[in-house]
């Protein structure tokens, strides 16, 4: 194959992939809009994908809050602005690290689980069995996972925000002797509820990315157990890359106007 052909081929593959994910997303959206949602299964998925992710989100956000606090507290105290540390931690967590890091670890856990489960259902003909019964795999499998994650991802992010503030406050107190009151006052003065809400908008979008990529990868699995492995790895890698890119774009859109307008 000559280089031009292979470039052409790769861009067709990419377009096909993007198109496939878009179709999956719009089919899911149409079921959701018509309220054709399997409620019990959605709760079940909210538990499996969301609630059970709390511990990894706790750990990542705790240490993230602490490390931002550590970096900023030492410097801030040197320059006599220790009262700004809380704001720095909250700013970083609410707007960027809370939503993004939670999404990244959830992609590693839930995104992989979704791709592996759907992939093995393809391989064992369970998806064909759904089709043969006249049941839509999108309604039966994708929609419950999507709705569950759209609810749980923002919840996990709020949890991450709180944990990182607490971790940051504890570290600032024990390393730089900044009191909890000073820290929390600084949080309240420098960060607005809008920052937190914008962070939640991000987490909502990340949740959709994780589920749609996980489902799409799973449903296009080919070739036995090895195929399931390939689909699963792909789901995690693609979702994480998309999360980073989308995070930048959303930051630009949501927070960007503060440069120009201010």
């Amino acid at each position: 194959m000559n280089p031009l052909e292979s470039v052409g081929r790769e861009s067709t593959d990419l377009l096909e992939y993007v198109g496939g994910v878009a179709i999956l997303g719009s089919e899911s959206a149409s079921f959701i809009a018509r309220l054709r949602i399997r409620v019990a299964e959605t709760f079940n998925q909210a538990y499996l994908l969301g609630v059970q992710s709390w511990s990894i989100v706790l750990l990542t956000s705790l240490f993230t809050g602490m490390v931002i606090s550590l970096e900023s507290a030492v410097q801030a105290v040197q320059y006599g602005v220790g009262n700004l540390v809380g704001g720095a931690v909250a700013f970083g967590s609410f707007r960027e690290l809370g939503p993004m890091l939670s999404a990244v670890v959830v992609a590693g856990r839930a995104g992989a689980a979704i791709a592996a489960e759907l992939g093995s259902m393809v391989v064992t003909e369970q998806i064909e069995a759904l089709d043969a019964l006249g049941l839509s795999p999108v309604r039966m499998l994708v929609v419950p996972r999507l709705v569950a994650m759209l609810i749980m991802m923002p919840v996990l992010t709020i949890f991450a925000d709180i944990v990182s503030i607490l971790g940051g406050a504890w570290l600032a107190n024990s390393v730089a002797h900044i009191s909890y009151d000073t820290f929390l006052l600084s949080v309240r003065q420098q960060v607005h509820i809008g920052d937190m809400l914008k962070g939640l908008v991000k987490s909502f979008v990340f949740g959709a990315i994780i589920v749609l990529i996980g489902c799409y990868q799973g449903l296009r699995t080919r070739g036995g157990a090895a195929g399931v492995g390939v689909a699963t790895t792909g789901a995690v890698v693609i979702a994480i890359i998309l999360i980073f890119i989308t995070n930048f774009l959303l930051s630009y859109i949501l927070f960007g106007q503060q440069f120009g307008g201010g």
């Binding site: 064909e128 069995a129 006249g134």
Partner: protein, 250 residues
Amino acid sequence: MAVIARLEDVTMSYGQRVVLQNLSLDIVEGAITCVIGLSGAGKSTILRLLNGLRRPDSGRIYVKGQELGSLSDRELIELRRSIGFSFQFAALFDSLSVFENVALPLRENTTLGTDEIHKRVTHALESVGLAGAEEKLPAELSGGMVKRAGFARAIITNPDMVLYDEPTTGLDPIITHLLTDTILRLRNQLNGTAVVISHDLQSIFMMADYIAMLFEGAVIAYGSVDEIRASFNPIVQQFLQGSEVGPIPI
């Protein structure tokens, strides 16, 4: 005798490999048609074509008066709901219990109440010898039990047409007899049509109204049990006798 489904000049390949070539086959309404042929001959592929899980490369497929290629997604779904499909490897949903697997078509595709569903599913499981296995997950069943649960799921809505992919392969003689009887009963009680893929000549001779033999992508023999048994076609004879010597390359 009315034809309920027809494959007309169907060619179908997977990648480079041509599996069916200009194949035509009529499925008679209210009759049991058994499809026999070597492993890998394309028998399962025929069943998938019949309910639109696969599309042929060329040719037309008619089921219940409709040409599958011309159906919208919506119409195809409606058609599939009226056709039972028992998969070769059962294809049970492994996150659902045996009971829920069999109940799923009733829950999703009918308006029956919980009590009625419970009654029907319990009865169906009893009739395939699975009483007591209701709460088990597929992973906790033996191969034969999985197969029987898949069989029960395929017939739970009493469809007037059922496609069975090797329903009795790997089952003991008593259960084989039981399932063969069930297939016959559905035909007799509901005037149901069945397409059965099987390697089990004994049960084929017991239930078949028509036998179609598939070889190298085409139907090389078609007829009643007696006609097929009396066939002069050396390929058919070699197959029925299970002989190593003959025209079939091994």
